[in-house]
């Protein structure tokens, strides 16, 4: 019993540290890649290639003045950043990042908590994250913030359904809700190590998932809640210092979470090629996650923001029908093939 508690505590700490560090350097990645895609240099002064930029940013945010405007509703204003930050971290509890392994004589599982409905856990938790945004927007007592909050709630409602439906295909194919089982079912020993990836079995589902996930994480081109050209900074207009930083970390943690889930559901999770079995599986996992993170940035560099009506139209008239169709067709095919 004690060993279990010890190992899971260690795991929790390590995962949190890795996620937070990942978030920090995800910002560096974004700035650097975005810079080059726009034929700029990006951060270059703090450390080699600007690698210490996230540290500098973090220090700056910590030492900035924490401004609380007079017109805010104190309680909800304080709750906002927490509510957006905590669910983003909770997601990682059920993400399998490795096979079970032992280290320093301790047995570790490849996941913090192996829930049999892991995927539902993720959805339940991420769906709570929107409260942070909505409450922040509402409590700030600022029109920009309120509009940001309203937009994020509307966007969330519109895309949540498609989001949920987009993975139904994979679940139906796999017949399980457990993340570890999903990973295990995508393993392959052949040289074509990616042959069992659900990406191939359900490509439409993958595209739907990706689209909805980007919308759920409020990233370009779906970043209407914080559209700086219209709403200053949207729901976090009135936030500064560490409160703002919590939003910021929350957003990047969400991105990471989505990347991890996509990896797990469609790209075989930590599975790597069998002929490179000496490489720890966590490395494969991280590489796949990195590819997704890169795609986020790539997308941001490529596409402009949706207009609000376009966003709604796209969500309800394109994504939702496609998602339903995808779920039904996959279900029928699975039924038909037994």
């Amino acid at each position: 019993m004690f060993e279990v508690i010890l190992t899971s505590s260690i795991q929790v700490v390590v995962v949190i540290v890795v996620v937070l560090t990942g978030c920090a350097w995800a910002t560096w990645l974004e700035r650097k890649v975005l810079g080059h895609m726009q034929q700029r240099i990006g951060p270059s002064y703090t450390g080699p290639y600007g690698l210490l930029q996230p540290v500098a940013d973090g220090l700056k945010l910590i030492f900035k003045e924490d401004i609380v405007p007079d017109s805010v509703e104190r309680l909800t204003y304080t709750l906002g950043p927490m509510l957006s930050f905590v669910p983003a971290l909770l997601t990682f509890a059920v993400i399998p990042y490795s096979r079970d392994f032992s280290l320093f004589g301790l047995e570790f599982k490849g996941v913090i908590s192996d829930l049999n409905i892991g995927i539902l856990w993720i959805f339940a938790v991420t769906s709570l994250g929107v409260y942070g945004l909505v409450l922040a927007g509402w409590s700030s007592g600022s029109k920009y913030s309120l509009l940001g909050g309203i937009r994020s709630s509307a966007q969330m409602i519109s895309y949540e359904v498609s989001y949920g439906l987009s993975i139904v295909g994979v679940i139906v194919i796999a017949g399980t809700l457990s993340m570890t089982e999903l990973v295990a079912k995508q393993a392959s020993d052949s040289i074509w190590f990616f042959e069992n990836w659900y990406l191939w079995r359900n490509p439409i589902g993958f595209l739907l998932y990706l689209t909805c996930a980007i919308a759920e994480t409020n990233r370009t081109p779906f970043d209407l809640p914080e559209a700086e050209s219209e709403l200053v900074a949207g729901y976090h207009t009135e936030y500064s210092s560490m409160r703002f930083a919590l939003f910021f970390i929350g957003e990047y943690a969400n991105m990471l979470a989505v990347a991890c889930v996509a990896t797990t559901l469609f790209f075989g999770g930590w599975n790597g090629p069998a002929f490179l079995s000496f490489v720890p599986p966590v490395i494969w996992f991280l590489i796949k996650v990195f590819v997704f993170m890169f795609c986020y940035v790539w997308l941001r560099a490529t596409f402009p923001r949706f207009r609000y009506d376009q966003l709604m139209r796209f969500g309800w008239l394109v994504l939702l029908p496609l998602a339903i169709l995808n779920a039904m067709v996959t279900g029928l095919v699975v039924l038909w093939l037994g």
Binding site: H36, M37, Q39, R40, I41, L207, T302, F314, V318
Partner: protein
């Protein structure tokens, strides 16, 4: 249905080229400079910070007439005149707020005494707004002269007041 089709064509037909464009640019040479380490070459007629000019005998050319301030579209120039010991008009206070200045050079154009001109320096940064308000003393410093800037007006003044040509 129309939206659906359009979305699908976009995804499969139009978006890949867009991605390709951004990816292509990622490997091009950046157009920006790694500024503080590398500096751009300025155009020959670049307008930087202001300088005030003196006569050869050391008196200030500026008579504080206010035309530069009147010409300034950004209202960046403030001046207060005074009478010097010779009874001439000169500036007691002459300040240019470089934060307001748009470096258009109108002051240079307006100056009837050719007392002010814009140099080439552009690097002034500070963490204090007040230090951007340049005083007369800051602008009256020695500076790289433009070639024969006052030839025309010196000749004209000499002509009108009949001062004999000097060798200077």
């Amino acid at each position: 249905m129309k939206d659906l089709l359009r979305a699908l064509t976009n995804v499969f037909w139009r978006m890949p080229p867009a991605f390709w464009v951004t990816m292509k640019h990622m490997f091009k040479k950046p157009v920006t400079l790694d500024y503080p380490r590398k500096k751009a070459a300025m155009a020959p007629r670049y307008r930087g910070r202001h300088y005030l000019e003196r006569y050869d005998d050391g008196t200030e050319r500026c008579v504080c007439c206010g035309l530069c301030a009147a010409a300034c579209p950004a209202d960046a120039i403030y001046m207060e005149p005074e009478e010097n010991e010779k009874g001439e008009r000169q500036a007691r206070v002459y300040e240019i707020n470089l934060l307001r200045c748009i470096f258009c050079g109108f002051c240079e154009e307006a100056c009837p005494e050719e007392a002010i001109f814009l140099g080439r320096e552009y690097e002034f940064s500070d963490n204090n707004r007040n230090s951007f308000i340049y005083s007369k003393e800051q602008m009256l410093v020695p500076h790289p002269r433009k070639p024969n800037p006052f030839k025309r007006i010196i000749r004209r003044v000499r002509r009108t007041y009949g001062v004999p040509e000097q060798n200077s």
